[in-house]
């Protein structure tokens, strides 16, 4: 375990000295909620949604989770592309520990990124309790693991062309967010968009977090479905990730 922690710290240290990205993410979050969210909520007149600023703040927290998780998946590919992966594979640690390192690093970065936005969101909603904090963190980490696993699963494309992989995952990211309930509830989506949103993991993640935080359940998807989808996604994609880390990465060279 000490080796795993050492490796996690080795990767995290450059990002924390100074923690530019984390502070920047917090500032951008505060501007988006404090100005954009507040002004656009004046335009949202649908009574079912209530205060749109609260709805939007949760959406931003989901977007940060998604960004961090997909960054973790991409990090693995970047390591392969930059020749760092062969070095990591040569270290005296097992493949499963290496995979655990990637997962732990992603989880630590996610926790750091989310700390301020999540607390601010809970304060805006007026639901800052231990139960809500723990339940939200669990839901967000499940979503994060699922998305990171999905990006890792796509990494086989990078072994053909890393340019194509980056183009695919970055392009896909914007579309996955827009075709989901991150920014708007399921009931206001036109039918053709709603069917696409039903396939987005972010739909289930955002609706589950909103359910935990006491939003009107009539505008949300069934929380049991959301739990099942997120758990299924996390387990299946992480399983795929472990398979890739153990079987496919040996000797690969990213194009």
């Amino acid at each position: 375990m000490r080796n795993v922690i050492r490796l996690v710290w080795f990767d995290l240290k450059p990002e924390l000295s100074p923690p530019v990205w984390i502070v920047m993410e917090w500032v951008v979050f505060l501007v988006q909620v404090g100005i954009y969210g507040a002004i656009i909520s004046q335009l949202v007149t649908n009574p079912v949604i209530g205060d749109y600023k609260q709805f939007y703040a949760v959406g931003l927290v989901i977007m940060i989770t998604f960004d961090m998780a997909s960054h973790t998946g991409r990090h693995f590919v970047e390591h392969a592309h930059e020749g760092r992966l062969p070095y990591l594979l040569s270290l005296p640690i097992s493949r499963s520990k290496l995979f655990l390192t990637i997962a732990l690093q992603g989880a630590t970065e996610l926790a750091l990124m989310l700390s301020v936005p999540l607390i601010v969101t809970l304060l805006i909603i007026g639901n800052l309790t231990w139960v809500s904090v723990v339940a939200c963190i669990l839901a967000l980490f499940f979503l994060g693991f699922g998305v990171a696993g999905l990006m890792l699963g796509l990494s086989f494309i990078a072994f053909k062309s890393s340019d194509l992989y980056t183009a695919m995952v970055t392009g896909l990211s914007a579309v996955i967010i827009r075709f989901s309930t991150v920014l708007y509830p399921f009931i206001v989506l036109p039918s053709q968009y709603a069917s696409a949103a039903a396939f987005s993991p972010l739909t289930y993640g955002s609706d589950l977090v909103r359910f935990i935080l006491g939003f009107d359940p009539t505008i949300l998807l069934n929380p049991y479905y959301a739990v099942a989808v997120l758990a299924g996604l996390a387990v299946s994609t992480l399983g795929l990730g472990i398979f890739l880390a153990q079987r496919l990465v040996e000797g690969v060279k990213s194009a």
Binding site: A38, I39, I40, N46, D163, L164, T170, A174
Partner: protein, 258 residues
């Protein structure tokens, strides 16, 4: 005359690099098209306000802004990868190199935004094609100004990529949030203190979005006043950016690095 040719060659090279960066094209197109065809439409379902008609023209300005800001990333890459040392050895003055980057930034952003404008005109069935064409030179100057902001950020951040991207992100969010790109001025007046309002109204992004909405999509005859305001608010950014980048290049010439 030969220097102009070199400037144009550098600008053409930088211009084509923008469109050859696949991941960038994927991000910009997926973001802007989904904003136009999904976000604008769905937000409209939550409002009594005609948000689709309001937001679609603004997406063109957002695309222009994002594409212009990429000039900063290309300058930062040139500084980090040492390409700038090669470019400084070319038969072109330092000022010429700065002009080449700003021209390429403006042209790439304009071409990209024009494609979005075409889609927006089809989606909203706008017919004022002549007005749209007349706005293009002003959008080009705006794009050069925005590229100037990006050049300033990359010169300040030097080779520290994390600072450059952080600065860029904060500037992008602040300029867009404090503009009428996303919401009308009366809603901003209801919320933000009055001393912020002059910043919002003189923000070149607000002016460009307003010009597109009024002249291209509502078909109102073009008024010179608004176009002049776009020029007056964009040119200073381009000048500041040019001087910042020039300063960075002079430092490289004198010390070999920044």
């Amino acid at each position: 005359m030969s220097e102009i040719r070199v400037i144009l060659a550098i600008a053409r090279n930088d211009f084509s690099y923008f469109f050859r960066t696949k991941w960038l094209m994927a991000i910009l197109l997926s973001l802007n098209l989904s904003d136009m065809l999904v976000v604008a439409l769905v937000y409209g379902n939550m409002m009594t306000f005609e948000y689709f008609n309001y937001f679609v023209p603004a997406v063109v300005v957002m695309g222009l802004f994002a594409a212009s800001l990429d000039t900063g990333r290309r300058i930062w890459l040139a500084l980090r990868e040492g390409v700038i040392q090669y470019e400084l050895s070319l038969p072109v003055s330092t000022q010429g190199l700065v002009i080449a980057y700003l021209l390429a930034g403006g042209a790439a952003a304009l071409v990209y935004a024009s494609s979005l404008l075409t889609i927006a005109m089809i989606v909203l069935q706008a017919s004022a094609i002549l007005s749209a064409l007349m706005l293009l030179p002003f959008l080009f100057v705006l794009a050069m100004g925005l590229a100037g902001i990006a050049a300033t950020l990359s010169a300040i951040a030097s080779t520290h990529g994390e600072f450059f991207f952080a600065f860029q992100n904060i500037v992008q969010v602040s300029l867009l949030t404090l503009s009428t790109v996303y919401y009308p001025l009366d809603k901003i007046q209801n919320y933000l203190p009055s001393f912020i309002l002059p910043i919002v109204t003189s923000n070149p992004l607000s002016l460009a979005a307003e010009a597109l909405r009024q002249y291209t999509f509502l078909g109102i005859p073009i008024e010179l006043d608004l176009l002049l305001r776009i020029l007056l608010t964009s040119v200073p950014f381009a000048i500041v950016g040019a001087f910042a980048y020039l300063g960075a290049l002079r430092k490289i010439q004198a010390q070999g690095k920044i």
